[in-house]
C-alpha cells in the first residue's frame, strides 16, 4: 500500500499537478538524485534557535506546588534516571483492569528474558506493576502519568527489592498533537524515565515498543539545550534555608587535544545568581535567547580571563544546578521535589519539539520510504536515515495526507 502511494506521487508530479493541488497539499519536492556535494553540513533533528527570539517559561503555569504534591513526587529525587522520548502508544489504556493486564504481560516477558540468561545476576524473578502516578497531571491535555515497577529477588537474595522503576508522563503539554480522528487509537506520552540496569531497561523498552507499536529512543540533550537549562534553573534557588548546590558546567575537550578529557567549571550558586540577575529582569516570567547567550558567554569570558582557555570551542557534556543534574546522553538527577513538575514540563516540551519536527515532515514521508523491516518502516530524510516509524504510526501519518 505504501509503495503504491510512492508511485502515485512520483509519477504524477509535474507543474500541472502542482498547480491543481490545493496549497496545503502541495509538496515541496527535494530530489536526492543531484550531484554529490563536495562538502556537507551535518544537520540534526534539533530546532535551531539562533537568531530567533524564544520565550521559555521559568515558572510552572499551574502554580500548585503544594507540600503534599512535593511529598508525592519525592520518589523522583536523588535518583539517576535515564530519559527517553516516545512516539504515540497505540491502543494504550490507563483503566485499572488494563494496567493489571499489562503488569501480567510484562512479568511474563521479564521471566522469559531471565530464562534466556539476559541478566548478569541469575535468577532475577520479577513481578511487574502498573499504576497511575499522582501529582503529574497538570492540565486536561496531560495523560494520566503511569508508574511501572518491577519487583523481585536479585540473585540468591530472599527479600523483594525494586529492580526497575519507570514513569510514563507528559506534564503541561501545550496543545494536543494528535488529531481528533486518531486520538481514540493513540495515547501520547512524551517522556519515559527509567531507573534500572541496562538489561532490564532494554526488556521494558522492547516490550513497550512491541506491545504498543511505538518508537522509544533516548532523549539526548545537545549543548544548546543544556545551556538553556543552566540559564533557566541556575536562577532558581531550591531552598533558601539550605545552602544551594553550586552550578556546575562540564565541558568535553576535543579528542585532538590529548591529555585532558574534561574541564569542570563549578560556580557558587549565589554568585551565579548575581550574574543572572544582572542580565535578566527577575520580575519577568519569560526570558530570551539573547539573555541565555549573554549569560553563558559571560561565564566563559570569566574563565578565559583566568586561564586563557576557550570554553566556547568545547561542548557542554553535563550541567548541574540546585534543581537537577543533566547529562548529554539523557541522564537526569533531580534534587528538589518542589521542582519535579517544572523539570518534567521542560522535558515534555523538548520531547514534543522532536515529535513536531518529525511530524512536520509528514508530507515527505511517503516518498522517503526506503524499506520495511519487520514491523517498522525506515525513512530517509535529507540523505539521512531518521526515525523508523512503526507501521501503525505511519498509517496515522498517511491518513492525514
Amino acid at each position: 500500500m505504501y509503495q503504491t502511494l510512492i508511485h502515485k506521487y512520483s509519477s504524477e508530479y509535474d507543474e500541472t499537478w502542482r498547480q491543481e493541488k490545493p496549497a496545503h497539499q502541495q509538496i515541496d519536492r527535494f530530489t536526492p538524485y543531484g550531484r554529490t556535494p563536495q562538502s556537507r553540513r551535518i544537520s540534526t533533528a534539533v530546532p535551531t534557535t539562533r537568531g530567533r527570539r524564544k520565550n521559555v517559561h521559568t515558572r510552572t503555569k499551574s502554580r500548585s506546588d503544594s507540600s503534599s504534591e512535593a511529598e508525592d513526587l519525592k520518589g523522583f529525587t536523588n535518583v539517576t534516571w535515564r530519559v527517553y522520548k516516545l512516539s504515540p502508544l497505540y491502543k494504550f489504556s490507563s483503566a485499572p483492569k488494563d494496567l493489571k493486564r499489562y503488569g501480567q504481560l510484562l512479568s511474563s516477558c521479564v521471566e522469559a528474558a531471565n530464562q534466556k540468561g539476559l541478566f548478569v545476576e541469575n535468577n532475577v524473578s520479577g513481578k511487574a506493576l502498573f499504576c497511575v502516578q499522582e501529582g503529574l497531571k497538570k492540565t486536561a491535555d496531560d495523560p494520566d502519568a503511569i508508574q511501572i515497577l518491577v519487583k523481585g529477588k536479585k540473585g540468591l537474595g530472599t527479600v523483594d527489592t525494586v529492580i526497575l522503576t519507570a514513569t510514563l508522563c507528559g506534564v503541561e503539554m501545550e496543545g494536543d498533537l494528535l488529531v481528533p480522528d486518531v486520538k481514540g487509537h493513540f495515547t501520547y506520552y512524551p517522556v519515559l524515565l527509567v531507573k534500572s540496569t541496562v538489561a532490564m531497561t532494554d526488556v521494558l523498552i522492547t516490550w513497550l515498543m512491541r506491545h504498543f507499536d511505538c518508537k522509544i529512543s533516548p532523549l539526548v540533550f545537545p549543548p544548546v539545550y543544556m545551556a538553556w537549562m543552566i540559564a533557566m534553573w541556575s536562577g532558581a534557588l531550591a531552598n533558601t534555608n539550605r545552602k544551594n548546590k553550586p552550578v556546575e558546567l562540564v565541558y568535553q575537550v576535543p579528542s585532538e587535544c590529548e591529555g585532558i578529557k574534561k574541564i569542570t567549571y563549578t560556580i557558587e550558586a549565589a554568585d551565579c545568581l548575581r550574574v543572572w540577575n544582572s542580565i535578566h529582569d527577575s520580575k519577568s516570567d519569560m526570558f530570551t535567547e539573547e539573555e541565555m547567550s549573554t549569560f553563558i558567554s559571560s561565564l566563559e569570558e570569566h574563565f578565559y580571563s583566568l586561564f586563557r582557555v576557550k570554553l566556547n570551542a568545547m561542548q557542554l557534556s553535563c550541567v548541574g544546578t540546585s534543581l537537577c543534574y543533566i547529562g548529554r546522553d539523557g541522564i537526569l538527577k533531580i534534587y528538589s521535589a518542589e521542582h519535579v513538575s517544572c523539570i518534567l514540563r521542560h522535558l515534555t516540551e523538548l520531547s514534543m519539539e522532536h515529535f513536531s519536527l518529525t511530524r512536520g515532515r509528514k508530507s515527505t514521508v511517503t516518498d522517503r520510504v526506503v524499506g520495511t523491516k519487520g514491523r517498522e518502516v525506515c525513512v530517509l530524510y535529507n540523505s539521512k536515515l531518521e526515525w523508523t516509524y512503526p507501521v501503525s504510526y505511519l498509517r496515522y501519518i498517511v491518513m492525514e495526507i
Partner: protein, 349 residues
C-alpha cells in the same frame, strides 16, 4: 585461616591472569613441588583454592599470615596505579634525633613495627619491600575480626628524601598513624603537599621539584634519581610527517618555540587532575550593562581532568584551544609541586 583466605582472595581479585604465575613464583612461599602442581591455565578461582589449600597444609598460621601480607604488598607494587597516592613532606626535624634514613627494608620494618606496636593493637602487621629504589610498606590496622581492604594503608618512601606517598586511610587512625611516622622519620610535622594522583613516580618528581633537595644535596646534583622522567615528548604530527604542509608555518613555529620554552622538551609528569579554587573579581561583564558589582569576589572551582593533565595543558595551546601566553598558575605546576591551587585577587592596599 578465614583471615588468610580473605587476604588471598583480595590479592587474586586484583591480579590479572597474565601476571598471576609470575607473581606467585616471585612470592617464594610455595616450594617447587607445590608450584608444579598449580595449573595456571585454569581460572583464577581454581588457582586460588589450590594456593589456599597449600597455605593451610603448612599449619604455620603466623608465618602464613606474614607471607600473605607480603603477597598483598607485592600486588599493590604491581598495580600501583590502582591506588590514589597523597604526598606529605617532613618538616621540623626533632632535636637530638639521628638521621633515620633506612635503605635496608628489614631495619625499616623493625623500626616501623616497634612504633606501630606502641600505638595500635598487637594484631597490627607491617610488611616492607624494596622496589626500584623505593621502600614500600604495608600497614594493616585491624578493626574487627574480618579482613577489610580499608584497614590496609600503603606507604612509599625514597630513602634520603623529605617526603613520602601514602594511600587512603581512615580518619580515625590518622593521629596515631602520623605519630608513628613522625617517630620513625624523626620529624615533628607531616604536612600535606596538596598533591595527589595515581602515578607515584610523577608525584615524587613534582614533590622533588618543589622541595629541591635531599640529604645528598640540591636538585641539580641528583638528576639520576629513579623517579625523574627523562623521556622526550612525542613529536607533533606536523614534525613527524615530511609530506604535510602547514598553511601558517611561522605562527606554528613561534607557538612551538614558546611552548618548548615554557614546558621543556621532555615529557611532563603524569597528573590526572589539576584543581583551582578561585576567588577573584568577575571578569565576564563585557556584555553585561548593569552588573551588580558589590565588591564581593566571584567564587568558582575549576578542575582539569584527564590521563595526563600537564601534557594536556600544553596541547590545549598547541591545538589553538588556549591562547598564549598561558597564565603562570598553569605553567608553574611543575615547580610548585601541588595540584590543588587557590587563586585570589590581589587586595588593593
Amino acid at each position: 585461616m578465614g583471615f588468610i583466605a580473605d587476604v588471598l582472595k583480595s590479592c587474586f581479585s586484583r591480579l590479572k591472569v597474565a601476571d598471576l604465575e609470575q607473581l606467585i613464583r616471585q612470592w617464594g612461599y610455595l616450594n617447587n613441588d607445590e608450584l608444579s602442581q598449580l595449573d595456571f591455565s585454569k581460572s583464577k578461582l581454581c588457582v586460588f583454592r589450590d594456593v589456599l589449600s597449600f597455605c593451610e597444609d603448612k599449619k604455620r598460621h603466623k608465618e602464613a599470615l606474614r607471607k600473605v601480607n607480603d603477597l598483598d604488598l607485592m600486588c599493590t607494587v604491581k598495580n600501583s596505579t590502582k591506588k590514589k597516592w597523597t604526598m606529605y613532606k617532613l618538616q621540623d626535624k626533632k632535636s637530638g634525633s639521628k638521621e633515620n634514613w633506612y635503605s635496608d627494608p628489614e631495619k625499616f620494618k623493625r623500626k616501623l613495627q616497634q612504633q606501630v606496636d606502641l600505638y595500635f593493637d598487637s594484631a597490627a602487621s607491617v610488611s616492607v619491600t624494596l622496589q626500584d629504589g623505593a621502600l614500600w610498606c604495608r600497614l594493616y590496622l585491624p578493626s574487627g575480626n574480618h579482613f577489610m581492604t580499608a584497614n590496609a594503608v600503603y606507604l612509599i618512601h625514597y630513602p634520603n628524601s623529605h617526603c613520602f606517598a601514602i594511600s587512603a586511610f581512615k580518619v580515625s587512625v590518622q593521629n596515631f598513624l602520623f605519630q608513628c611516622l613522625s617517630n620513625l622519620f624523626g620529624y615533628h610535622t607531616l604536612t600535606s603537599m596538596n598533591l595527589s594522583g595515581l602515578q607515584y613516580k610523577s608525584l615524587f618528581q613534582l614533590a622533588f621539584n618543589k622541595l629541591g633537595e635531599t640529604s645528598f644535596g640540591k636538585l641539580s646534583d641528583v638528576q639520576s634519581l629513579p623517579f625523574i622522567s627523562r623521556r622526550k615528548r612525542k613529536a607533533e604530527e606536523i614534525e613527524r610527517e615530511p609530506n604535510l604542509r602547514s598553511e601558517d608555518v611561522a605562527m606554528k613555529r613561534h607557538r612551538s618555540l614558546s611552548l618548548e620554552a615554557a614546558f621543556g622538551e621532555y615529557q611532563q609528569p603524569v597528573l590526572e587532575s589539576l584543581r583551582f579554587k578561585v576567588e577573584a573579581k568577575f571578569m565576564g561583564k563585557k556584555n553585561i550593562e548593569n552588573f551588580q558589582d558589590n565588591g564581593e569576589p566571584f567564587r568558582c572551582c575549576v578542575k582539569f581532568e584527564g590521563p595526563s593533565v600537564l601534557d594536556g595543558v600544553r596541547n590545549l595551546a598547541s591545538c589553538g584551544l588556549a591562547n598564549e601566553p598561558l597564565p603562570k598558575h598553569l605553567l608553574r605546576v611543575n615547580s610548585l609541586g601541588t595540584n590543588n591551587f587557590v587563586l585570589k585577587s590581589k587586595e588593593k592596599s
